[in-house]
């Protein structure tokens, strides 16, 4: 794709054209040459939007909260990026987050569902690109919602200016939560379904855990919500704004965004290397080496070392 049609698409997307923005997002999701062009194009105009990550265990009410948040933000052009897993067996996916949102979100919100498409490393690149495109199109805030299971999903939600972690009453004690790796990424906690018994108990567990220590000048507040009724969502948005102000005042915002960009550089290199590894394994010299591993003539360690040397730029793989 030449540069001009792309420029036109960006301009249309900035003007609020949903189709153009939808197409741009598809392009960055596809990866390859056009994705790189779109990513570069977006990079020039991005950096304005607030990025909020929402994560938590399945069924805690993330999508409902996300939809309500977009509505109460009062923003003219909020965007939601809702990420759901692809089936590892078929590559298909059921992206069902919109069903929890449409009723709540004003027609101005741009909602995009994204499937993980099997490549954890790919998602780590596709999501920042998608956020960049939404940002360049003038959307603000951008709310990224992921299931809080698995390192990659958690880290994607954590790669935000403000990360909201959602739990429910009866979610387990602090030990469980620590295991999931969710707690250290939280800037704000939400105890959703607060109309259920023991919402206060869940809050107390979190308070106790926060008493043990928290990061740099910000103690994560705990907000009780009943998202289906919209209760507490205004308070949650107020806490997000308070955190945004804290990020600005403390200089933490610059620090976080720098770290995010640095991480993305590493993620992109990792993805590229991962692709090369697949290529080496699937073609020569990998096939021969793996055959020898099959026949037990070569140890896995020796084969890996041998193949690793083909990643050397001075010694490019053949074929």
């Amino acid at each position: 794709m030449s540069r001009d049609p792309l420029e036109e698409m960006f301009e249309a997307a900035r003007g609020g054209n949903r189709r153009a923005l939808g197409k741009l997002l598809t392009m960055v999701e596809k990866r390859g040459e056009s994705a790189a062009l779109v990513s570069e194009g977006a990079h020039r105009d991005a950096g304005q939007a607030r990025v909020v990550g929402v994560t938590g265990a399945p069924g805690t009410g993330k999508s409902t909260i996300t939809g309500r948040l977009a509505a109460v933000s009062g923003a003219s052009r909020p965007a939601i990026l809702a990420i759901d897993p692809s089936s590892p067996l078929t590559g298909g996916a059921i992206l069902g987050d919109r069903i929890r949102m449409d009723n709540h979100v004003s027609s101005s919100a741009f909602i995009r569902s994204m499937a993980t498409r099997g490549h954890a490393g790919g998602l780590a690149v596709a999501v920042p690109d998608a956020v960049r495109v939404l940002d360049a199109a003038g959307c603000d805030p951008i709310i990224v919602e992921t299931v809080g299971v698995g390192q990659v999903e958690v880290s994607i939600a954590a790669a935000a200016d403000t990360t909201v972690v959602v739990v429910t009453p009866g979610w387990g004690d602090a030990v469980q939560a620590n295991k999931a790796g969710l707690l250290e990424v939280a800037d704000i906690f939400v105890v959703n379904k607060a109309d259920r018994p023991d919402a206060r108990g869940a809050r107390r567990d979190l308070e106790l855990m926060l008493d043990l220590g928290h990061r740099g000048g910000w103690r994560a507040p705990i907000v009780l919500t009943t998202a289906t009724e919209g209760e507490g969502i205004g308070d949650l948005w107020a806490e997000i704004e308070r955190h945004t102000a804290h990020l600005h005042d403390s200089g933490e915002l610059t620090h976080r965004r720098c770290r995010r960009r640095r991480d993305e550089v590493a993620d992109r290199i990792e993805l590229e290397l991962r692709c090369r590894v697949d290529q080496i394994i699937q073609n020569e010299p990998g096939a021969t080496a793996l055959g020898r591993v099959d026949r037990n003539e070569l140890s896995p360690a020796a084969a890996a070392e041998q193949l690793l040397s083909t990643l050397d730029p001075d010694n490019p793989p053949e074929g």
């Binding site: 990866r31 040459e33 790189a36 078929t90 298909g92 059921i94 919109r98 993805l271």
Partner: protein, 150 residues
């Protein structure tokens, strides 16, 4: 642009591997969504990405989802005998938005109405007895025809 990868084919997910994206919805007042949930599962198992909108959608909300999600097809499930009214409205709304997206109808549609719906511009009608394979084939054929026509 010299800092771009010299060979984009090194990146994963060649264009051809992108899954078909289908928006599934119940249009209007019609609470029978079990069939649609089965279809969602069937299409997922065939490797498609299903954007599930569920109950009580409008032509506007479906068009908006289609645009935002850059969907390849719309699947509507109809069990309220409203298909002759609602399906043409959907086709019209899609055309009015300038979208090139086929509309596939499933659910309870009397055999006599199928030809009428096709005349209205519906891409395919999938009846109650359809096998999983027939559902998948109907959707992918509709997407293929649309892509070829562009």
């Amino acid at each position: 642009m010299s800092d771009l990868p010299a060979d984009p084919s090194l990146l994963l997910d060649a264009e051809s591997e992108i899954p078909i994206r289908v928006v599934l919805a119940k249009l209007g007042l019609d609470g029978h969504d079990r069939g649609l949930k089965v279809v969602a599962r069937t299409l997922r198992d065939a490797g498609m990405e299903v954007i599930y909108l569920g109950l009580r959608q409008t032509t506007d909300s479906i068009v908006a989802a289609c645009e935002q999600e850059d969907a390849d097809a719309i699947g509507l499930s109809m069990h309220n005998a409203g298909h002759l009214t609602l399906a043409p409205r959907m086709v019209e709304a899609v055309a009015q938005a300038g979208l090139d997206v086929p509309v596939v109808i499933g659910g309870i549609v009397p055999a006599d109405d199928v030809a009428t719906l096709i005349d209205f511009g519906v891409a395919a009608v999938i009846g109650p007895g359809a096998s999983a394979q027939e559902v998948v084939s109907a959707v992918s054929a509709a997407v293929d025809r649309q892509t070829a026509a562009q």
